[in-house]
Amino acid sequence: MIKLFKALIILLFFTTSSCRWFSGDATDNFLRNFNIPNPPGSPNFKKGFKHGCSQILYSRGNFFYRAMFGYQYDTSLNYNKDYRFGYKRGYNACFISIIASKMPSFDKALFPAGGGNDIGMGFYNQTDYDATSGMFDGILNSGFGGDVGGVVDNVGGGVLNANPLWAGGSKGQFFGQ
């Protein structure tokens, strides 16, 4: 049993050692969990890319993004060509990514609903969301003794009426892809 446990640990070690989260340059790992390619280049270029990207993700992201990112800029590299080039590239790349957010689920592409803002394959459906109650509703309502969600529920779905982590809801969906 102990041998099996040891073998399992060794297997786990080899598996995770190749994981992207544990490899690579730690200075740019903020992009690890995001679907934005980590561009090759000089350290200053990468730093600039990271700063530019972070800036626009803060600006145009919702409060999740604003909690994670912010205005970053290295004033000592004002006239460093690599840094400035990377900064502009990062800004533009992430700007395009974030304004094109709400990428729909893969299953919706396979089975287009034909409603909402669907065009053709249903790839751009931005309206057909699951209206599952949010996980915080019950907590807040019991805590404050009232319908907190309703207080801030003037435009469409309320702040607290949606699941903060999960926008899907269709069957057969894996992480919404």
């Binding site: 957010s101 969301y129 702040v159 699941n163």
Partner: protein, 173 residues
Amino acid sequence: MKFAKIRIIFAAISIASCSTNPNWWKPNGYLFTMMPKGGSPGYNLGWRHGCQSGLGTQFAGAIGMTFYTWSRDVDIVSSKPNIEAVKDRYKKELKDINWNDPKDIKQNFSDYNLVFFDAYNFCRQTALGTLRATVGAPPVPGETRYDPGSANIGDIWKVGGAYDSRIGSTGYW
């Protein structure tokens, strides 16, 4: 008595930031605290002017335009800068520039120009981002005017609006 002291200390700490950020009371005024550290006087002035200009555009809506306006200084950005006018206008902001050193002046003016549109873009995009996450895209001329009564300040924390970042909604997660 003990509480009075605590209250005074608390108040002092609370208003301490007001002196460093004169825009703290304005909408989106907190953005000015995000100015990067270590810049030259010209850089800092350019950043502030850029941010003010960005917040004074229609992207920030009528409220933003009420509190801010276009602030780019023509005497600095001109190909023939009016150094005397700039020196008089920003006695406090540019006090650390060596006005007897043309190289230092040129460097600071160059910093001003370099950062102006960086800050302009950052602040206007942040104001627009907040608006889009709350009331949707601001109306353009010809469209129905924005009705503040149809929105709520709590919508800033709406997760299902623009830039939805939940699993299954975007390309990020």
